[in-house]
């Protein structure tokens, strides 16, 4: 029972605190590659605290949707986080078919982000929303296919199966792991607006995807949205970690490994961001389609495993 309480507390803490640390690690990595000292790893946390202290400025052309959306985005992301398997595949809520609720709750948050951006009436934000929606239409089905295939392998459609891929599936498991990790990593780059899909540090509205949708948000609203995006990143990273880390490890070892996975993935993201240029907008689709094809491979492998050839 105590162990359960600890795990719940641990999950919640990871969801709330880890976004800032991971973002900080990415920033630090980028600073390292460009020969700078860089800001403190906790800078994203300080920025968020600062934003909460600031006043909101709300455009007079917006309606209630714009005011309402940040709360919805934050709540839905956090709620999806409760379904996310953390250490040893333990999630706070895990029921059969949880991945369906999980995906659609994230989808609801995305929907509000899009209509809130449209609500401002700004041509930039409309453009950003249109881009975000186009990428989502490719990313979402692929994500759905991966989660469905992986949880189907467990036999009862729960997240608990994610970590057991190698021991229960052998060589097949390794293949599935590689495919699924690459696919989810591409999703991470798309959803969290990282290079080569989006440039999180640019000031050029015309090239932005995610950033441009929140141009009109300020103060606590902006803090909630950036926090929610960090949580989304942590959720995706947790999924990747669970697929990679075997279930049969010692608890303490997997605890350390699990926590270390966030900075490691952050360093990988930061290094990619430092080494390559951003893709041309029309080429981003090709990049995102890689995720879809990998997802289909995962589905085929899972089908072969479950039903034989």
């Amino acid at each position: 029972m105590n162990n359960d309480k600890f795990l719940i507390l641990f999950n919640v803490l990871i969801l709330l605190i880890m976004p800032f640390i991971t973002l900080g690690v990415i920033k630090k990595t980028k600073a390292f590659w460009s020969g700078r000292k860089g800001v403190s790893i906790l800078q994203p946390l300080y920025d968020t605290i600062k934003l909460f202290k600031k006043d909101k400025t709300i455009s007079s052309t917006t309606s209630w949707i714009f005011n309402f959306a940040p709360a919805v985005i934050y709540t839905t992301t956090l709620f999806a986080g409760l379904f996310t398997p953390m250490i040893k595949c333990h999630s706070i809520i895990d029921v059969a078919g949880a991945f369906i609720i999980f995906s659609y709750i994230l989808g609801l948050g995305k929907f509000f982000a899009l209509i809130a951006a449209m609500d401002t009436g700004s041509s930039f934000e409309g453009m950003g929303a249109s881009r975000e929606a186009s990428f989502t239409t490719i990313v979402e089905p692929a994500f759905f296919i991966i989660l469905a295939s992986l949880t189907a392998l467990s036999g009862n459609y729960t997240f608990a199966a994610l970590t057991d891929l190698i021991s229960s599936n052998g060589t097949f498991g390794i293949l599935i792991i590689i495919m699924a990790v690459v696919s989810l990593f591409i999703m991470l780059l798309v959803e969290c607006s990282r290079v080569p899909v989006d440039d999180p540090t640019t000031h050029l509205e015309l090239t932005m995807i995610h950033e441009v949708m929140i141009l009109d948000n300020s103060g606590a609203d902006l803090a909630l949205i950036t926090w929610a995006n960090g949580i989304k990143m942590v959720i995706l990273m947790a999924l990747i970690s669970n697929i990679i880390i075997p279930l049969n490890l010692d608890f303490n070892l997997s605890l350390i490994l699990f926590i270390l996975m966030f900075p490691i993935l952050g360093i990988i993201v930061g290094t990619i961001e430092s080494g390559i240029a951003r893709l041309r907008m029309s080429h981003v689709f090709e990049f995102v389609f890689v995720m879809s094809s990998f997802a289909l491979v995962v589905a085929s492998l899972a089908a072969v495993k479950m039903y034989g050839i």
């Binding site: 980028k30 590659w33 460009s34 020969g35 700078r36 041509s123 930039f124 409309g126 453009m127 249109s130 881009r131 290079v195 080569p196 440039d199 540090t201 640019t202 000031h203 050029l204 509205e205 015309l206 090239t207 961001e273 430092s274 080494g275 390559i276 240029a277 951003r278 893709l279 041309r280 907008m281 029309s282 080429h283």
Partner: protein, 483 residues
């Protein structure tokens, strides 16, 4: 045709310039294939005097002619109808003197009356307008960009400038100074100050020492190196290639800090004065400059090779924002942008300059796209570094000379042109004096005046998200245009 032939940096008597009938002049210009360098009016008692300066680039000559226009004349047959190179010049002339060019296809405000600006508009279900500016996200100057798009594709971009009403040309007449000339366009301090100083020296008949001329040219090339390196970094920053952005940023600092050592200002403010220069370059400094430039050259070469090897960088640069040679010629694009489109103009070499005439340039293979604009900068950085080194060598022979000579009063009824190839392209200053020896007209043309329209053409049929990349490649001046 009746023209007075003159050289760059030469004073002529104002009365030597032939005056021809206005309608005959416009008809001739419409049919002429000489490149217009300047086209401006000046008050002339009851009349308006129109000066036209054409460049005969093949024969390295400048041709000047003029026409007297009665103030009652309110319209004339547009030259632009036939010859698009006059497009901006006629718009400017109309705005300043109110003589309407009939049949001008794009007669819109240049620097005034922005409230009456009629934008080109597209109608359709999937078309949308994107308005950017005049206040931008970065720390840049004001300018309004109106995109007509279908989805992500740009059909037309219209650029409306003229937010800064500084009245530079009028200020020049009231109280001209080196400080004012330096402040016209803050990223071309040396080039503008050099053009102004040269024109003042010509108008007063002052001969400056070769030493001062050399130091000016060293500073001019240093300015080119610094800004070009900064631009390379900015281009790569726009496509989120972090390493390039940072490395070029650091390297640019080395160059402008060297300018600081020469003149006490990182942008060379206060270095050039009418009659010469204010600061000397001694042997120690000269050695230091050579060392730093060797270091800079090494870094820039390595970084450029690394960047151009990256497939993601090349995929962004190649075939983005292409301006064909035909379009570029039609629009009269000048300077570095013109060269990136295959127009081989460079006023350092086109108008005989004693110090440049023996210097070697490699031919540039223009590909007309963002890659071409990246590559031309790299080529010019490397060339300018070798120029500076050669100038420093020549400077040793002129050690004993004076830095600065005293200037005389301006000679009455004079006309002088000074064209300086700044990093952006040819900066044209033209000045006339009246019978009392006071400046009566001071006309400035920045390369941006020609090239802004090239940017509109470059982004056509490109993705709207590629606009910032094209814009950085052109890197045009708002204040050089807004005057």
């Amino acid at each position: 045709m009746n023209y007075y032939t003159m050289k760059n940096n030469e004073r002529i008597n104002l009365l030597d310039i032939p005056t021809i009938d206005f309608n005959a002049l416009t008809a001739q210009l419409a049919a002429s294939n000489l490149r217009p360098v300047s086209f401006f009016g000046s008050d002339w008692g009851e009349n308006i005097k129109l000066y036209v300066i054409l460049a005969d680039d093949e024969n390295k000559k400048l041709l000047v002619t003029s026409s007297l226009i009665n103030k009652n004349i309110k319209e004339y047959d547009s030259i632009t109808k036939e010859n698009h190179q006059y497009h901006m010049f006629e718009r400017e002339f109309y705005e300043q003197f109110g003589i309407k060019p009939l049949g001008h296809p794009w007669l819109k405000p240049v620097r005034k009356n922005q409230d009456n600006y009629e934008f080109f508009e597209m109608q359709g279900d999937e078309t949308h307008q994107v308005a950017v500016g005049p206040i931008h996200a970065g720390v840049i100057e004001p300018g309004h960009f109106r995109f007509m798009c279908q989805g992500e594709k740009i059909y037309n971009l219209e650029i409306m400038l003229g937010y800064q009403h500084r009245g530079v040309e009028d200020l020049m007449l009231k109280k001209h100074s080196n400080q004012l000339a330096e402040s016209i366009c803050g990223d071309s301090v040396i080039a503008y100050n050099m053009a102004y100083s040269q024109i003042m020296e010509e108008l007063s008949g002052t001969q400056i020492t070769p030493k001062a001329k050399l130091i000016r040219r060293i500073a001019l090339e240093m300015e080119r190196i610094a800004i070009h390196i900064g631009d390379l970094g900015a281009i790569l920053g726009d496509i989120a290639y972090l390493m390039g952005k940072e490395v070029y940023g650091v390297t640019r600092t080395l160059v402008i800090n060297t300018m600081l050592e020469i003149s006490g200002s990182r942008f060379g403010r206060g270095l050039i004065t009418t009659g010469g220069v204010n600061f000397d370059i001694d042997d120690n400094l000269s050695k230091k400059i050579v060392d730093i430039l060797n270091n800079v050259k090494n870094t820039v070469e390595k970084m450029t090779h690394a960047a151009l090897k990256s497939s993601t960088v090349m995929s962004r640069l190649e075939k983005t924002g292409t301006v064909s040679l035909e379009t570029a010629t039609e629009l009269n694009l000048v300077g570095m942008i013109g060269r990136s489109c295959g127009i081989n103009l460079d006023s350092r070499f086109d108008f005989l300059d004693d110090f440049y005439k023996d210097l070697k340039r490699k031919p540039f293979k223009a590909t007309n796209d963002a890659y071409s604009r990246f590559k031309i900068r790299y080529k010019e950085i490397i060339e300018s570094i070798s120029f500076v080194k050669k100038f420093l060598k020549v400077l040793e022979k002129h050690k004993q000379e004076n830095l600065c000579v005293s200037t005389k009063d301006l000679i009455p009824n004079s006309f002088a042109i000074s064209i300086v190839e700044g990093w952006r392209g040819e900066i044209v200053h033209v000045a006339t004096t009246d019978e009392t020896g006071k400046l009566s007209r001071y006309k400035i043309k920045d390369p941006s005046f020609n090239n802004w329209y090239g940017l509109s053409m470059a982004v056509r049929n490109n993705g709207i998200s590629d606009f910032p990349l094209c814009n950085k490649g052109f890197d045009l001046s708002y204040c050089g245009f807004d005057l």
